[in-house]
Symmetry: C2
Subunit: 314 residues, 2 copies
């Protein structure tokens, strides 16, 4: 699956509803704060393992169990970041083994964090794609269930529960701002809300995976850099996400690194919310004026992750 997604595979609102039933009682229902009149924050950084990623990982593993694909070799993923932490949490919570592959560049703090969640960590290869290739080879050997970071329908449907929940909680919302890396979250949210709200993608200008893909008519590689690269640093948007958001007419807005840093500082100053740069990217579009709501428009901002060193907020 994952990288060689079959033509025509997609995710529907019904898939998201099934995911919500499946992961209820496993993932947290994260609350919504009306930060100021008409501006809602979905506090998804309060999710298990500090980001929305636990939703997709729970749905992937639970759906496989339902389908009788008992993961004898446990679960396996490549990521030293939010996805790895989420898969490790999900595995521990469901009582299965987790193997996480990370590249050599991954810092000791992150490796220790994964081990603290009970995961077996293999550090191999110079960059993420090497670790990913190694994880695939290992999975072929052990039969472990691969949990892709974004480009799998069960992962996308799980992330979509963020959007479904938000609509239930918000009592009417016109627009949802969502940060994009590999595109799993925006794909899921787009599927979940259908025509009930507009979805707007926000990307760091130094990682414009979706913008470039929309311009090219297909996912293309981009250079990755800047303050949010540790969490939004996919080199290209997933094929599943690309098709979903293109068909829905979702547009992409770019924000500067300075705007992300300012939004993160403002979330702490004015709201006592501590998030990572990627978690502040969607808010940066609103705060910097790159996204300007109409009078009376109700805008929801997904604050999607907080796996950060709080000392960097001071």
């Amino acid at each position: 699956m994952a990288v060689d997604m079959a033509e025509g595979v997609t995710v529907t609102r019904a898939d998201v509803e099934r995911a919500a039933e499946r992961i209820g009682g496993h993932a947290r229902r994260t609350p919504v704060l009306e930060a100021e009149p008409g501006v809602l924050f979905k506090l998804e950084f309060l999710q298990h393992a500090g980001s929305f990623k636990a939703r997709g990982a729970f749905n992937r593993v639970l759906a496989a169990r339902e389908a009788g694909e008992a993961p004898a070799g446990g679960v396996i993923a490549a990521s030293g970041g939010n996805h790895g932490l989420a898969v490790a949490h999900v595995a521990r919570s469901l009582g299965v083994r987790a193997e996480i592959f990370v590249p050599e560049v991954t810092g000791e703090v992150k490796v220790a964090g994964l081990r603290a969640l009970g995961a077996e960590v293999t550090q191999t290869g110079a960059v993420y794609s090497d670790a990913y290739a190694a994880s695939r080879a290992r999975a072929a050997l052990t039969g472990a269930l691969e949990v892709h970071a974004y480009d799998h329908p069960d992962v996308v449907a799980g992330q979509g529960t963020v959007g479904a929940e938000l609509l239930e909680q918000a009592g009417g919302v016109d627009t949802i701002l969502v940060a994009v890396g590999g595109g799993g979250l925006i794909a899921g949210v787009t599927a979940a809300v259908a025509d009930k709200a507009a979805v707007v993608a926000v990307e760091p200008e130094r990682i414009p995976t979706l913008e470039r893909a929309l311009a090219a008519g297909r996912p293309v590689d981009v250079e990755v850099g800047g303050v949010a690269a540790d969490a939004l640093g996919a080199t290209r948007v997933g094929g599943l996400a690309f098709e979903l958001v293109r068909r829905a007419g979702v547009g992409s807005l770019l924000v500067t690194d300075d705007a992300i840093v300012a939004a993160r500082a403002e979330l702490w100053r004015a709201h006592r919310i501590a998030v990572e740069p990627a978690g502040a990217a969607a808010y940066a579009a609103l705060l910097s004026g790159v996204y300007r709501p109409r009078p009376g428009e109700r805008v929801a901002v997904v604050l999607c992750g907080a796996n950060t060193d709080p000392a960097t907020l001071a």
Copy 2:
């Protein structure tokens, strides 16, 4: 009012309901997170100015306006901490002057924070009680509206909206754990929930204002120290709070500084919630086992403040 509270003055559920109407649209409605099955967090640190104190200050000033006591000289308060920040925020938000008196020991960061909110800051006296006395003398001169940090019925009724909101949001809760300093919050919550939930006071063992008062049958001075002293460091519980909680049969549990530090660390580790020590004190009772819920009991913990240096969480 304040220190020389008239005999028989109290706060009722109706007072809290009026406060909720009055401050709606001014104070934030803070969300509730079901952190684990049966354990709810009231995320009150997301309130304006970083603590619940804005509720009481809004209610005090707005109630005075309703009563025709237009504060010609603006508002005045003594506090270099959460209460001072809240009064400064409320004054700016309502377009009135704020004078805040702080003792000489108050650090430059807090003074700068108050000034950033537009307050005039007067630094005078060695300790809080000196600054408080100076604020009272100044108020007598200028006619400014005094906003006491806890021992005033409008302040208590405003803080009580935390409890009323929680009952609306939680869909049934058996017990509410509340940290105590001067007692404004627990008094308000006690009045708000009446017999709909049990209220339990949690105090740092190094500042047992309520426990000593309950033992003595009246508010008495205690020594103040420990990690939460900057926010829970009243030398005695307010008379209004004492009467309210005594009549309601609210008991006090003591937690160690170590338990508070551990609870604060766990809130960050497992929930990505960054609070100050006082904001973690109530959770410390649950996490350390000082408070043990019955099987099936639903416990809400008020996380009441986050005016802290996030670097101390790392």
